[in-house]
């Protein structure tokens, strides 16, 4: 079987589903998988990610902020609320004893920057707000509700499709990439007559595929890595070790 999961990848996929559920997302994306890999300190992917400056908490926040379920949720319009304007905020600050114009003047004089530029543009826009309500299933009464929380323990392989969670298109593309790389390595190995040594679905392979994903949440996380090339190289080395 070319797509057999090793322990690390099995844990990562199961974690990814749990994380997506916790975040109130209805789709498991590559970003959740990345968090899943980072949540397992015994994994090869974990050390590679840590070595390149990623940490679990920040990555989790970035994924929460950047993951978008493919089907628009009912509360999507929440994101489109208007940003607070400068004048309005100046009045609100005046009411609590802060003279925004004076602060602005001081910043201009000392630092040469205008506080009013980009006022109200939050860099991590949507963070916290974009999260859906924390009760998955709420408002989706057509979903299957006959699942039992806590079941699935001891099941072989990753949990899937229970309680309406689905793998996103991007995540399926990542898993397809991994299967393709396994097949390619197997074909090459067959020529050398050592196909049994080719690893299947492993943490290292998942990480290599993730570094090539176009998923916005993954891109946002990897943009904070010290060196994307370095990370990919280390993931590839991990795949090499998994072969032994």
């Amino acid at each position: 079987m070319s797509n057999r999961f090793d322990t690390e990848s099995r844990i990562a996929v199961a974690q990814a589903a749990d994380i997506a559920r916790e975040m109130g997302h209805r789709q498991v994306g590559p970003g959740h998988l990345l968090v899943g890999l980072l949540a397992n300190p015994r994994g090869a992917a974990y050390s590679a990610l840590l070595d390149h400056g990623l940490d679990l908490d920040t990555t989790r926040d970035l994924v929460a902020a950047h993951h978008v379920d493919a089907e628009p949720g009912p509360d999507r319009s929440e994101r489109d609320r208007p940003a607070g304007g400068y004048d309005e905020d100046r009045e609100a600050l005046r009411a609590i004893g802060i003279d925004l114009d004076r602060v602005r003047e001081a910043v201009r004089a000392n630092l040469g920057a205008d506080l009013a530029d980009g006022w109200g543009d939050r860099p991590e826009r949507g963070r916290g707000r974009r999260r859906r309500d924390r009760h998955p299933g709420h408002g989706h009464h057509h979903d299957h509700h006959d699942h039992h929380e806590g079941r699935g323990r001891g099941r072989r392989g990753p949990r899937s499709r229970r309680d309406g969670l689905r793998f996103s298109r991007e995540l399926r593309a990542v898993l397809r990439d991994v299967r393709r790389s396994v097949l390619r390595d197997r074909l090459e190995a067959e020529d050398r007559d050592d196909a049994r040594r080719v690893p299947g679905m492993t943490g290292g392979r998942l990480l290599v595929a993730l570094t090539q994903s176009d998923d916005p949440a993954v891109r946002a996380v990897l943009a904070t890595a010290d060196s994307l090339d370095g990370l990919r190289a280390q993931a590839e080395q991990a795949v090499g070790r998994e072969a032994r």
Partner: protein
């Protein structure tokens, strides 16, 4: 500066409209000041790690928020 009575009246206002507006405005001010000060620190040769230490957030978080400024 306003008198203390005016200050508490608004920041601790029972009227959510005023109380929340104060919170929103403080957040916007903090965001802009952070951007300006991080930029200033980078100009003075501070590392992302040094900035992160003072802000008490992770290096990755600082980098993610401000590396494009």
């Amino acid at each position: 500066m306003n008198d203390a009575a005016g200050l508490s009246e608004s920041a601790a206002s029972h009227d959510p409209e005023r109380g929340l507006a104060a919170v929103r405005a403080l957040r916007a001010l903090a965001d802009r000041l952070e951007a300006v000060q991080v930029h200033n620190a980078r100009d003075q040769g501070w590392s992302w790690q040094a900035i992160a230490d003072v802000l008490q957030i992770s290096r990755q978080a600082v980098h993610q928020k401000h590396s494009r400024d």
